[in-house]
Subunit: 453 residues, 2 copies
């Protein structure tokens, strides 16, 4: 499925780009994709194709591989003569000076990955930020205000099981000590704080937006869904993040021997769970939302024993928090009905359904100025090839949006795949997104200088 | 729910029982239930009620508890002046002499339990056999031919994962070395052969029906299903064991992010699995059979990732092997249709269904003479309170039926429960079944003496 047009060399024609009302910057067409591929050596895993770059990445937060990519990142920031701050959560801020003092405009994402992750999720955002600074340096361009590139620690929540934890601490949403005390999912668990010390990234800058603030936060990311690809759009102008709620649903029935228990006397918890799962999908569809059962366990888990207990997670999402609540409410009613109706036989015992709220996140709406700046940049460079989009996944930008103007830019993900080695965006798509980011950052910086914000 | 009528003392009125055309034997009404409860101390586990006898039993094959109950059993056989044989699989044969030489008529079952087992499954059969011999001794009754009580090793397959393994080796259905090499499911696995040596039950009698034959094999057992209770019958005359087939069904879809993947683009393996599970139940019901999904696992098993792989076991049963085949065949066709139809959206990838045959067991029909002997005994003692029944579960009698005349007797199981501490039959039911067994053994012995067989 590899097409020649996808080769990064094909974008060389776009060497000169008019980047703003005021400046024309020359971009280096291959350096960003080369950085993505060269840094993938720190944790390369999961071969999916014949080319050397056809692997995913396993770079768990604060692992040795994470230390290696962090060390490289610090080195690059040094070459750019950035001021480097490492905070108490190991978040790295590389601050490129501007003409004027003032809060830095941030470009952030994360360098850690899922255990079976790809080359782009998070990494693309940090390295694009770095490429913005390199492009400034190449062109001797000095922004009006400082620009900070940020690497947020443990965004994935894959090693330390709480996603966007370090941007959340920075935004004052989670106490520092909670973050530092998070225990890893390693065979021999260690704390996030201990691992920061071990790899030398226990910084002294307060992990706080109050003491280490940003003027704004922009993040470029792969979509991780199929919408842009299916609609043949190049750029997603992210207006916010959809609401979600996670519940654990437990169905309680009655164990019995698979060989000796007639069908009409069974209280089979898995039969009821199957009915609930399908009903949930029906309800989510009717509301235009999503629901996902991603984990399911049963007891006693023996080939010839009817399960008496099935427990599954139920992830419900919609751009509107109220619709999420409505889907969950209707699911509770309908699952209860299914359990009470049971298998429709008076010989079967009634089953019970229990709900446990795991996590909830309301709708996030990004800052209007930030969104309109991204939209203008996309419209200028890719007229007709962009669309507004609501992020289905959480990102560090959710944390930052609570304390500073924030928005995001998406590029297409091949087949919508993510969190798998096959995660892929073409070099052209990588470059397209970068150009929109570069233009956005310059435009936002100009708006600040012109007191338009 | 404890009723006074269930107290074993209530059966004292039945002290004198006419047991055959020729003999009247006095039975000891409480000794059997007392033996069941007193031997439960070796592995008592799982309190379900207020009385000291309201626990289950965890007595895994060849564990220290199994050694203790075996040692006690050997002692009892010694008091009965039985010849004791221990074979290479640790099967124990206690042979009570008859008037004439000849092959012993066997009464067998097992003293091992499930990890969360009850007090009756298997144990009832072995201790009832012992009680038959004790009743003979009490009454100075000498049978025409020897009577053997047999404890088969590892019937449950709970510790060494192959059920009815030792009766299968004895019946020549499985090679001896395969049985001895079975690895336990302990944290540190050990072989069945090593554990036999450790607890001193590595006997020298060949584990072979050819070198250590039985004239017949009778087994009394709890039903483990609700049929007798629901129909208010006291005795099940077991005519055979239903056929079954175990398959592992794997649904292959596509993982994707729960937040970013629209419902109409998903290839959700769990959604398809849920549809297959419900369709399977529909198909089994239509054929008058049973199907059970007792285990299910999914990948990647993350709250916010759509599962790309779901694997479940599919246990199908019916008294007729041909109907089992028909249910499996129809399920294969229908599951395939469900997977191909998918979620009904052209944006979703097709899913695949794979089947792997795990185990199959054809219909077992017990020996007509054995069955009619049981039926006559049941009819004599409990007229109108018995019914013919097909066993839903496998038993050691399945193995013996291939090499000697065999049949079984069932008593009711409260609510059909088994393989759980709540497994329960009343002392009266325990005694009822024993009386039918005693009469059956005497009648069969007399038929042998009268050359009616």
């Amino acid at each position: 499925m590899y097409k020649m047009v996808e080769d990064s060399r094909a974008v060389q024609k776009q060497l000169q780009v008019i980047m703003s009302k005021y400046s024309t910057l020359t971009i280096n067409p291959n350096r960003l994709i080369d950085a993505i591929h060269s840094t993938a050596k720190w944790g390369a895993k999961g071969v999916w194709g014949p080319k050397p770059t056809d692997t995913g990445v396993c770079r768990l937060a604060l692992s040795d591989f994470d230390k290696q990519v962090r060390d490289w990142f610090i080195g690059e920031l040094g070459l750019l003569k950035c001021q480097i701050k490492i905070d108490q959560m190991g978040n790295i801020f590389g601050i490129y000076p501007g003409k004027n003092p003032g809060l830095p405009t941030g470009i952030g994402s994360h360098l850690d990955t899922q255990p079976n992750g790809g080359r782009y999720d998070g990494i693309y955002g940090v390295l694009s930020g770095l490429e913005v600074l390199k492009t400034f340096q190449d062109n001797n361009y000095v922004p009006n205000y400082p620009i900070a590139v940020v690497n947020w620690t443990n965004e994935e929540g894959a090693r330390f099981p709480q996603s966007i934890i370090s941007s959340s601490v920075w935004a004052g949403l989670v106490p520092l000590q909670h973050g530092l005390n998070l225990k890893s999912l390693d065979d021999i668990p260690v704390t996030l704080g201990d691992e920061l010390v071990r790899i030398g990234y226990n910084g002294t800058t307060p992990a706080s937006y109050k003491e280490n603030p940003l003027a704004a936060h922009f993040e470029i990311h792969i979509e991780q869904g199929p919408v842009l690809q299916n609609e043949q759009k190049e750029i997603g102008v992210v207006t916010g993040v959809q609401a979600y709620e996670w519940n654990r649903v437990t169905i309680k029935g009655q164990s019995a021997h698979a060989g000796t228990t007639p069908m009409n006397t069974r209280s089979d918890a898995l039969q009821i769970a199957s009915m609930c799962i399908l009903k949930g999908i029906e309800i989510a569809n009717a509301h235009g939302g999503c629901c996902t059962v991603g984990t399911l366990s049963l007891e006693p888990s023996s080939v010839n024993v009817i399960p008496h207990l099935v427990s599954f997670t139920y992830d419900v999402r919609h751009p509107d928090s109220e619709v999420v609540k409505a889907i969950v409410k209707e699911s509770k009613t309908e699952f209860e009905k299914i359990a009470i109706r049971g298998i429709g036989s008076p010989l079967a015992k009634l089953l019970a359904v229990e709900w446990e709220l795991m996590q909830t996140s309301p709708t996030v709406k990004f800052n209007e100025t930030c969104v309109s700046t991204v939209k203008q940049a996309a419209s200028d460079i890719f007229p007709g090839k962009f669309r507004e989009i609501v992020s289905g996944a959480g990102h560090d930008s959710v944390s930052t949006s609570y304390v500073c103007p924030t928005s995001m830019i998406f590029i297409p993900s091949r087949d919508g795949l993510s969190h798998t080695p096959e995660e892929y965006s073409t070099p052209e798509q990588i470059s397209n997104g970068f150009q929109v980011l570069l233009k956005t950052i310059m435009a936002y910086d100009e708006k600040r200088a012109n007191n338009e914000i």
